[in-house]
């Protein structure tokens, strides 16, 4: 399962994952560093333009859908009760900017390529493997959790009712999932060991993404921009 990934050949797809990740990091930091209530929204506008150029406009729809509840909360908490609409606008802008850039990152980077990119960059295999295996294990365990929920319900488990009953229901829903997972650890460990996952040898990346001069230049520019803004804003 490839979470949020949309196959394509656009600008962001051709960019090295590290560059896109650097962009996400830069936008996240700039959203907090830049002054003014509308600065985060300027970032959002820039990201919209990028999405347009990269052929990822549907991602903007998803970003808006995810952000909307937060706009609502912020409007109520800060706007109505706090009488400070300005803060609400800034915070809403930050959340939207960060969410949008992350969704663009997810949409343009295939998880498999991300791991190869990390390995090519010298990230220790153990960490890269953990992230990759986690991304595959999560949907698998979520499916199992749903299956256990359905099975227990079939056997009469009630998840409505008093707080105490609902609390007790958590046990037969959780324990089978956890025990089932633990029972697999031994075999998985054997297979990983014999296939060299724990060996000290440097793993060969199978299909590493190309890191072109534009990628490197872009990353330097992003770093310079964030550093520049940080110094400007934080210098006493």
């Amino acid at each position: 399962m490839t979470l949020g990934y949309r196959p394509g050949q656009g600008l962001l797809h051709r960019t090295h994952p590290l560059t896109t990740a650097a962009l996400a990091g830069a936008v996240s930091l700039l959203a907090f560093l830049l002054p003014g209530e509308l600065a985060p929204w300027a970032l959002v506008a820039g990201l919209c333009a990028l999405a347009l150029v990269a052929g990822l406009v549907p991602v903007l729809g998803a970003a808006a859908a995810f952000s909307a509840p937060f706009w609502g909360f912020l409007a109520v908490i800060h706007g109505v009760f706090g009488h400070d609409l300005g803060t609400a606008v800034v915070l809403a802008g930050r959340i939207t900017a960060i969410l949008t850039v992350f969704l663009l990152l997810l949409a343009s980077v295939h998880p498999g390529r991300l791991v190869d990119a990390m390995l090519a960059r010298g990230v220790p295999f153990g960490l890269a493997y953990l992230l990759a295996a986690t991304l595959q294990a999560v949907p698998q365990l979520q499916r199992r959790a749903t299956a256990i929920l359905d099975a227990q319900r079939c056997r009469g488990l009630r998840v409505r009712g008093s707080v105490l009953r609902r609390l007790r229901a958590v046990v037969p829903l959780t324990v089978p999932l956890v025990l089932g997972a633990l029972a697999e650890v031994d075999e998985r460990a054997l297979a990983l060991e014999i296939r060299g996952a724990a060996s000290g040898t440097r793993r060969t990346p199978l299909d590493p993404p190309v890191d072109g001069p534009w990628d490197r230049a872009t990353r330097w520019i992003l770093l310079a921009a964030v550093a520049g803004v940080a110094i400007w804003r934080l210098w006493p």
């Binding site: 791991v115 297979a191 014999i194």
Partner: protein, 271 residues
Amino acid sequence: MSVQLERVSFRYPGAAFDALREVTFECAPGCVHLVTGRLGAGCSTLLQVIAGLAPHVTGGSRSGSVVTLGRDPAGSERHDLAGRIGLLLPTPWTQLSGMAYTVAEEVAFGPANLGWDRERIRQAVDEALRLVALERVAARDPRTLSGGELQRVMFAAVIAMDPEVCLLDEPAMELDPAGAEALYAHLPVLARERTVILATTDLDRAVSAAGRVILLDGGAVIGDGNPAEILGTPRAVETGATTTVARIASLAGADLTYPLTVAAAVERFSR
């Protein structure tokens, strides 16, 4: 001799009994060595001990001497053996690497971990998939394969690492009869250059591939020799570790040694 065990006993952590008791034997390339016995006799444990995974990954205590390819596979020199011992476990799903999105990547997992260059990996993967006749699924997500296809892929994954010692634990458990026959038929070819040790209770099909049988019971070796003399005896019939044909022959009161396969039975009884 690529595998030498001398008076090896092994006990899993927290277990009340030894899983292996004073096991002694040797293996070399040339024929398929078949290890069999009742459920719980210790066949899987034996393979894991030869690979050094017991006790290194499983924990537990081992006594006696295990020498695989000239070294103790669970000792400090085990890194020299990386990729030279292959082990295939019975259930395919738990052997998935967890980070492959295509079958080709899955098969390439081991070779990539060994640091081979990309061209060598590509060739090894292509050959391995051709061996199991699954080139057509190379680009598919391994999690969409059937149990049988996945087990063949995992077999390819073991072969792709080009191990000198191949340990196969119920490699045909998920395969249909034709698939199982094809797999067993290939093993003697594999065994020409490598040491192939096969652990299975599927004796009806596996026995024709075997050149030697090691019979285990309760963790101890109770028989070691060629298939006919080990599996065609009343003792083998008693422990349940024999072929259906031999069992029928025993019940029908035939003379020792019982024929093990249909072909052997036809030859014996059609006189």
